[in-house]
Symmetry: C2
Subunit: 575 residues, 2 copies
């Protein structure tokens, strides 16, 4: 009977907070030991936080990471559980590493072999790839240690570990950036890997936000049948334990002779001998978990993103400009869920073009969310600008200039409140606006965190509707969903004067940005070439704005952030 008790420490570290992260690790260690776990997994680079970016180039940072590992090792004295913890091994060169620690000793260190350098990843900038696999032997049980990307490759190192070395369990410590649907994809992918290679997989993922990136947790254990027997919560810190039955693995291997005929690469192995697992009395049973619907997942993601950005950066309160429109209503709602009513301030900044309905809706929302609402008119300040610029603007006609001025006065108000009271400004622009430049730089784009920067307008509506339904009440007033979207910067303005309908726009953008299709391919999906080229043209022309936008929470496969590295100076035009 090969049984192994595994604890997954699905925790939320803070980048650079070595002391705080160490304390979290120590607590998890105590719990895992109490639960008589044989193996305790932490996320990738848990001690430092992930991704450390150019802090990797600071010797002092690397040294403190090393010192933190040593403290954790000394905490482990007298503890029987073997833990696998992510840190930066920088003794000779920098490696994204997993230390195997037990009873006051580092038994071995594994270096991540597959370093991603695409999308949001820059791991070739910082790390040297590992050249050797690491296998723990606990009596008869063999456990392969891997880090994140290692398990996402088509063949290696998984093939060598399983088909080559015959490990019973692949442990994977991870910091896997979230996008919508990633938890489900990961579950499918890892359970199919377990099924394909006839091996149990224990996957421990990071949770929490780090600037634009989110980590959703949703750690899991799959048995060698591909059945998920444990699933951690999504966007929840959690320390979960399970007893994995590893006999299953052998049975399947004996019945399926494929592995005897399959060749693997010649990667070297290193083996570590550990004491075998001790017999236990009570059981930690299966907890397969359930799925979340799309809107709930996104909402929870954004709430986590706001909470972590605000708190990890030492803020307490936030301020949101309330226009009575859909975007600001959703942002205020998310902020309230993340931080509590007392920590969210709404500001209404009416102009002559603000409709009565918008003002009413903004007040109603503030009331529904139970947040304080300030009102500061922009009329007088706007007039004083027009007066000051009168001479210079003689013989010109009103245009986008005057519209932008209004947006910028509002931006200045919010920043003044931020400066005076220490409130972080949340911006309310959505992905459709960020893409097309339908936003004012230094105006509605001014702030510290762009909450829905990666959420298309059509999804903003969907999430708003889902929220009201969940609450069983029109927290976001019904009229907000019904009126035509407008910036209200001149009389009777609507978004759709300048933009294609959002249902069309969002699809074209998604094909172009996230699926990287060429215009012809998008046209094949049933969109007019003229609309496609107009959309792409707006996208390209507004690169300079996006370069100056605040960070936003990434929820798609390609957000305007680390995975959108477009030049400003760019004469390329889609043919």
């Amino acid at each position: 009977m090969k049984k192994l008790r595994v604890t997954l420490a699905q925790l939320n570290p803070t980048l650079g907070d070595f002391r705080g992260n160490l304390e979290k690790a120590r607590e998890a260690l105590e719990i895992a030991e109490q639960r008589e776990s044989d193996l305790l997994l932490f996320p990738e680079l848990f001690l430092s936080g992930y991704p450390p970016e150019d802090l990797m180039l600071k010797l002092s940072f690397l040294k403190e990471n090393q010192a933190t590992l040593e403290k954790l090792v000394s905490y482990s004295e007298g503890k029987q559980v073997a833990m696998v913890v992510g840190f930066i091994d920088c003794r000779e060169d920098a490696h994204n590493s997993a230390a195997v620690i037990q009873n006051g000793k580092v038994l071995g260190i594994y270096h991540k072999i597959s370093l991603p350098n695409y999308g949001v990843f820059d791991e070739h900038r910082y790390f040297k790839p590992g050249q050797e696999m690491l296998v723990l032997k606990m009596g008869e049980i063999k456990i392969g240690v891997t880090i994140c990307e290692d398990i996402w490759n088509p063949v290696e190192p998984l093939a060598s570990l399983t088909l080559g070395c015959g490990v019973h369990l692949v442990a994977n410590i991870s910091a896997s950036p979230y996008y919508v649907g990633k938890p489900l994809l990961r579950e499918k992918y890892l359970s199919m890997k377990a099924y394909d290679y006839h091996v149990a997989i224990a996957y421990c993922n990071m949770v929490g936000g780090q600037d634009e990136l989110l980590f959703d947790g949703t750690s899991l254990v799959s048995n060698p049948n591909g059945k998920v027997v444990l699933k951690g919560g999504t966007f929840e810190e959690e320390i979960t334990t399970i007893d994995i039955d590893l006999d299953e693995n052998l049975r399947i291997n004996l019945l399926d002779p494929r592995r005897r005929y399959m060749s693997t690469q010649n990667l070297p192995f290193k083996f570590l001998e550990l004491p075998p697992p001790k017999p236990k009395k009570e059981r930690y049973p299966e907890k397969p978990g359930s799925h979340m619907e799309r809107e709930e997942e996104i909402f929870k993601a954004l709430v986590t993103g706001v909470r972590d950005y605000v708190k990890k950066n030492g803020f307490k309160k936030v301020v949101v400009g309330l226009s009575g429109g859909m975007d600001s209503s959703l942002v205020a709602t998310i902020a309230t869920e993340a931080l509590g009513s007392e920590n969210v301030k709404g500001v209404l900044m009416p102009s002559p073009y603000t409709s009565r309905e918008s003002l009413e809706d903004a007040y109603q929302l503030a009331q529904n969310l139970n947040i304080e609402a300030l009102t500061i008119s922009i009329n007088k300040v706007f007039e004083s600008y027009l007066k000051a610029l009168e001479e210079v603007f003689r013989q010109t006609n009103p245009d986008i200039t005057e519209e932008n001025l209004q947006a910028r006065i509002r931006g200045n108000y919010l920043m003044a409140l931020s400066n005076k009271f220490g409130w972080l400004v949340l911006t309310t622009g959505n992905k459709s606006e960020m893409a097309t430049g339908y936003a004012t730089l230094y105006g509605d784009m001014a702030g510290g965190l762009a909450v829905i920067k990666d959420v298309y307008k059509t999804d903003v509506y969907r999430i708003g509707r889902w929220y009201n339904q969940k609450k069983g009440a029109p927290i976001i007033p019904q009229r907000v969903f019904e009126k035509a979207p407008s910036a209200e910067l001149r009389p009777n303005q609507t978004d759709q004067e300048k933009l294609p309908p959002y249902e069309v726009l969002d699809e074209i953008l998604r094909y172009y940005i996230e699926e990287n299709l060429d215009p012809g391919e998008i046209a094949d999906k049933g969109f007019a070439m003229e609309t496609i080229l107009q959309t792409i043209d707006m996208l390209r022309k507004n690169e300079y704005k996006r370069k100056q936008a605040p960070v936003g929470i990434k929820i798609s496969t390609r957000a305007f952030g680390k995975d959108w590295r477009m030049p400003i100076t760019n004469r390329f035009r889609e043919p």
Copy 2:
């Protein structure tokens, strides 16, 4: 007698402007052919421009690059010169490549072996490394083809090409990002390589600006003695030709037996047979060029950066807020040199805290530069803001909020002028300010291009002094150099109230940012630990501002741009 006539096309492509770049290539081809050149070198990725960043992920972009190469090939029909041109070979995977073209045919394609992925480089994100070296044989003459980074490695592929294969000339096509002193460093480095490996080197570098990056040209040819026999202008487009005498090479090899005993890696070679060079009548003699002094080099760099950013992005005129201080004076001067007096607008935006001297100096500068100067007071608008915020700010005291408001009104004025008249706003913040956050987000940081973002305050003064001296007149008024630097946002304010003296600050910053020293190591240089930690603390706290700053022209080894990838959320504190 082994002689080879080489033409270097040190040209300034525009990213994505395939048609324009092709036209430049065609012109260079005509000239090289007229000059009976045997070999014509273009810069790295010349046909697309460099760096293409995430345009690399667009199939349509890659296809147009391929189509452009084909057009160039057809232009080459009937031409005897062999040309080496940088493009993206994307037939099977994406490679940073050099095509060897002669008389209507692609004779061979080389794939860059050494792909940089540090500093400003992300080449592992986009390209697959080459696995094979390419050697051209023109009769008895062997020429190794390399791309940029290939020649900056300590050993390979240079060792194999020279010691292994015995090439007479290494041709290197390059897009080498500029920093102060790079032209001289490159000259030393390449000539020492030539000396060490007993091989002639012909190095053709890109020239011009692409967003934050500059390429300085300064192409060169070194003979196998390490003597630079040709040097291209710095920040100049140029097509230069030289006859290289390659007998020298053989003589040295016979006299120095080292190579017979040195081992090299086993990289495969591919040989291309080309017709031998024909005998020529007249000579293209040596042109070793001269050095530039530091201030002149920086000034020329910034002028190039402004000119290329403005023109390549389709702007004509720029606007600069003139405060009468050193920074804005230098920026206006650079802009005037880059674009001409008629294309630069100065705006004076006095407040009650603006000194009479500052206003006079600003006017005087505008007069000296012969640029139009507008004056728009911020007083009334500032008052209207205070009035509007009066209620909300009851029971608070004036602080940084009111200072920022003034800066933001000025930012709004400049942006309003930009919106109304299509003038690009140049910001005037220097590197010392960008580092310490001594600047207002959406205020003086508002604009399209941050001209001196990578120039420390002490250098701003140096360059200003150099400029006046060069002109033999106080174009930048003498008083600007003499008065204490101040933001003039409250009475009697000076920079040095909040910041260490610039002589100290700049050195600490340079050690920390550019040399990556730890605080203890900086203290060893003779600075007070308290000042060091205070400086580093300011640097860290202002990451969020820098994330929203406009692009700036990189002139140092580490600018706040592509090579400064710091997290905002960061609890790491220097110990």
